[in-house]
Amino acid sequence: MNRLPYILAASLGLVVLAPVVASAQTGAANVGVSAEVRTTAASTSVKASAAATAAMDKKKDRAHQELQRRVDALASINARVQAMQQVTPSFKQSLANAIQTQTSAFQALDAKIQADTDEATLKADVQSITQSYRVYALVVPQIHIAAAADRAVSISTMMQTLGNKLAARIQAAADAGADVTALQTALNDLATKISNANTQAQASVSSTASLTPDTGDSAQMAANTAALKAARANLKTVEADLKAARADINVIVKGLAKIGPVGANATASSTTSVQ
């Protein structure tokens, strides 16, 4: 039997089928390549999206830190305002209302930022934090300065009251024949130091009361900073004056103790004032 035709047919078949097989293999390879390309593209897209989300989350976290910091500072300063003694209750309430308004605004902005889903909106909201900071950076020190000055005036008042009592005791000792020269000198200095402290406390407030937020103006910012520093220096002088006044009180109290009780007992009316 002549098998050549079968062999030829088979060969032809192989020849015919080879491209198909090759094509199939290439196709399979192509499919593999396409799939790999699609997978890579998808992977890259996922990675980019994840990076963008991470960046947004980081911005949101920083914004939250900044806003929460301000909320905490406002709560602290509000407590200090309520403890002020030289201002009216209605004024304290007006300050408290203003502080609460700002606190609510910060909290609302924080909530909005955390809910932002696109970069552009988030960026705009974050920029508003920076813009509002210039107001916060001025108003908070102003209120702190006012609170310190308020306490300085309270201390001065307390020292004046005590000074009256000491003046009466010195007078009583003098009437009893004691040498009160040193005590009188200390009492006079006490009066001077109290007066100076009041003047400096007043100056600290007057120099900062009319300041306005710089809203980014560098010259205004420099002027505000200088005024705040000057007020801070005034408060330091107040502290020195009050401590010197306290030292005078010590001198008087020790001097009276050395003299000892005069009259029936150590109690004296405070009707006598020292000229």
Binding site: E66, A98, N188, I194, Q202, Q275
Partner: protein, 94 residues
């Protein structure tokens, strides 16, 4: 919206400041030891911040008063520290 906050805070702070300042000026205390004030027992005012009665010049009362003043002096140091921290405040970079 941020600008609205800025304006609102400026207006409220300035108004509150002016009210406080005018009230403070009229409430300034005269120094009694300069002869401008006679504190009599019939005009006793309530003591503040732990002070004793204004017409009590006993040793115990004076001791109480000096302790009350010392407490306020210590609190004043805290107040000025608050001024320092607020002036040194730095915004968290965004």
């Amino acid at each position: 919206m941020a600008i609205k906050w800025v304006l609102a805070v400026i207006v409220i702070a300035a108004l509150a400041w002016l009210l406080w300042w005018s009230g403070w000026l009229t409430n300034k205390q005269a120094n009694p030891m300069l002869g401008n004030q006679n504190a009599t027992s019939t005009q006793e005012t309530g003591p503040i911040n732990g002070m004793s009665a204004s017409n009590d010049a006993s040793d115990e009362a004076i001791s109480q008063d000096t302790a009350a003043i010392d407490a306020q002096l210590s609190a004043y140091t805290t107040d000025t520290a608050g001024v320092d921290s607020s002036m040194n405040d730095k915004q968290i970079s965004q």
